[in-house]
Symmetry: C2
Subunit: 125 residues, 2 copies
DNA sequence: CTTGCCTTTGACGCATGGGTCAGGGGTTAG
DNA sequence: CTAACCCCTGACCCATGCGTCAAAGGCAAG
């Protein structure tokens, strides 16, 4: 399977696949004699996993930092990442949660300060 | 007063002052015969106001969009922006609050999904 | 063989709020 | 006059996750 078909099967674009490969999230696939990348079902599953992790708020660097342990998560329905060996050992998920918490509280403080200026009620949930 | 001194007095840098001017937040000051910008106390107060608005989470575009009404807020201790004529009429503050709310809830959802994966408790406030 | 779609690499674009550098000129103290 | 700063404009840099474009070659159908 060439890159276009593989990308479509994984719900993304050829550009994204090359990008993941370049940044170390996706191992470099074998090439045809003429240099074209060749993907199989394994790679597609891997790309789906990468996309799910990214959509959960992890950064490309986060995922790349534990790329060598990602295969432990492939196949199952994305259960407990901590148990998978990637999250707990390296702490990427915990650090990302902490970063999200920090950003959330920063934005919340800004929101409340702005609301205080206009007299808006500070309780929109 | 030249730009370096004015910037220091306002707690920022010459680059920021030129940037605000270029983006329409700060009116272009008079120039000396040799082309150097000349600032007075009014401009410095204006820059302080701009910085306060930006630090509250408004964007450069937000502030630029009501730059012609900013003088209504200068001098007083940053009271109710809505009453100042800038916020309520143009709605910039309300829109920015809505954008912050949207971003906060987006990040909160991500955080909770990530926490659910690791079994972390979802109550760090 | 040609047409037309697919792939390759490399490089620039986006948005934010300025930081930093380059090359050239102003300004002021000694 | 000169050193030592300061200012001018224009242009590139940062980080994120790719999108988009360009030039050149591959691949399958007619």
């Amino acid at each position: 399977m060439r890159i276009g078909e593989a990308a479509a099967a994984a719900g993304t674009t050829p550009r994204a696949l090359r990008f993941y490969e370049q940044r170390g999230l996706l191992p470099a696939p074998p090439r045809s004699r003429t240099g074209q990348r060749q993907y199989g079902a394994r790679e597609i599953a891997r790309v789906r996993l990468i996309r799910e992790l990214l959509s959960l708020g992890l950064t490309v660097e986060d995922v790349g930092s534990c790329a060598d342990r990602l295969h432990l998560l492939e196949g199952d329905a994305l259960p407990d990442y901590g148990a998978g060996g990637c999250a707990q050992k390296s702490g990427v998920v915990e650090r990302r949660i902490a970063a999200l918490d920090a950003e959330i509280s920063r934005l919340t403080r800004l929101r409340d300060q702005l609301a205080a200026r206009t007299g808006s009620v500070s309780m929109p949930r």
